[in-house]
């Protein structure tokens, strides 16, 4: 089964990558953009999707600093 794991920096943790993007957009004329955060997308084929949460907790993310969402 194809699955996607969306990884985001946890709310409240300073996200300089998001800030850099947010500062760059107005320079190109894209005004009115706020709360930009940059995360990661992991796509994978998995035989047993019930093991995805454990994969996320142990390797794909660091739960102390990242939130994740599994899409199947």
């Amino acid at each position: 089964m194809r699955a996607r794991v969306l990884v985001r920096p946890k709310a409240g943790i300073l996200d300089p990558q998001g800030q850099a993007v947010e500062r760059a957009l107005p320079a190109l004329g894209f005004d009115g953009v706020r709360n930009v955060h940059v995360g990661r997308l992991i796509e994978l084929d998995v035989e047993d999707p019930s093991r995805l949460p454990e994969m996320c907790e142990r390797l794909l993310t660091n739960p102390l600093i990242e939130d994740y969402e599994i899409e199947q």
């Binding site: 943790i13 300073l14 300089p16 990558q17 850099a20 390797l59 794909l60 660091n62 102390l64 600093i65």
Partner: protein, 225 residues
């Protein structure tokens, strides 16, 4: 007293760490794929880009075969020092609290910084004095120390913060200027600055030796005595 320095694929400060340790004691390299620690009295997890730092810094190295033994060694009270990438590996392995995030500047930073000794007791800063300044270089992209606020309070209250960046010297946005923390038991310590690069007068500072000397003194007094 014998130090063991772990070499992962992608380690680049292993030889400097080996030579720094060899200035104060015996020192050998430990191969990442081996399952034994050659009877060393202390382990150094050095800087570099272990396993390419693919995914997250330190995330894959923590599953290296030798890490099983390093974790066991730490559980038994053995001294483990993580420098830079080694610090990231120990955090990912859960041997140290917190995590390292990309520098606020998003830039690779390589410069000499002043550190302040917060605690002078214990295995890693025992040869230093509280408030003393150490001049040691940092060189990293992912060195911003992070832990949730309540955990930071607990770490400070428990005396687990051993080194801070001196005022005006925090290079990466680390919370509360934390440069190095140890575990609750005090036998595992990680720091972003590189003590192994500050051991020879030619490099401008020998302050890094204090960490290795502290470890040797601790082992000699408490383990080998």
């Amino acid at each position: 007293m014998k130090f063991g320095v772990v070499r992962f694929p992608g380690s680049c400060d292993d030889v400097d760490a080996l030579q720094a340790a060899a200035r104060v004691a015996d020192a050998v390299l430990l191969w990442h794929a081996d399952h034994h620690l050659q009877g060393v009295d202390a382990v150094v997890v050095p800087g570099g880009f272990s396993y390419g730092d693919y995914l997250r810094a330190g995330a894959i190295a923590r599953f290296a075969p030798v890490m099983t033994e390093v974790e066991e060694f730490a559980r038994e009270g053995g001294l483990v020092l993580g420098i830079c990438n080694g610090f990231q590996v120990l955090c990912e392995a859960g041997l140290l609290p917190g995590a390292l995030l990309p520098n606020v500047s998003l830039k690779f930073i390589f410069r000499q910084v002043d550190l302040e000794v917060v605690r002078s007791s214990g295995a890693f800063t025992g040869s230093c004095e509280v408030g003393e300044r150490l001049s040691i270089p940092v060189k990293h992209t992912t060195g911003r120390y992070y832990a949730p606020d309540d955990q930071l309070d607990r770490l400070e209250a428990a005396g687990q913060v051993l080194l801070r960046y001196a005022a005006g010297h925090n290079p990466n946005g680390s919370l509360r200027d934390i440069a190095g923390v140890c575990n609750e038991r005090g036998n595992v310590f990680g720091l972003m600055p590189h003590p192994e690069h500050a051991v020879d007068p030619l490099g401008g500072s020998t302050d890094g030796l204090r960490i290795f000397e502290s470890m040797r003194a601790h082992v000699e007094q408490h383990v080998l005595a």
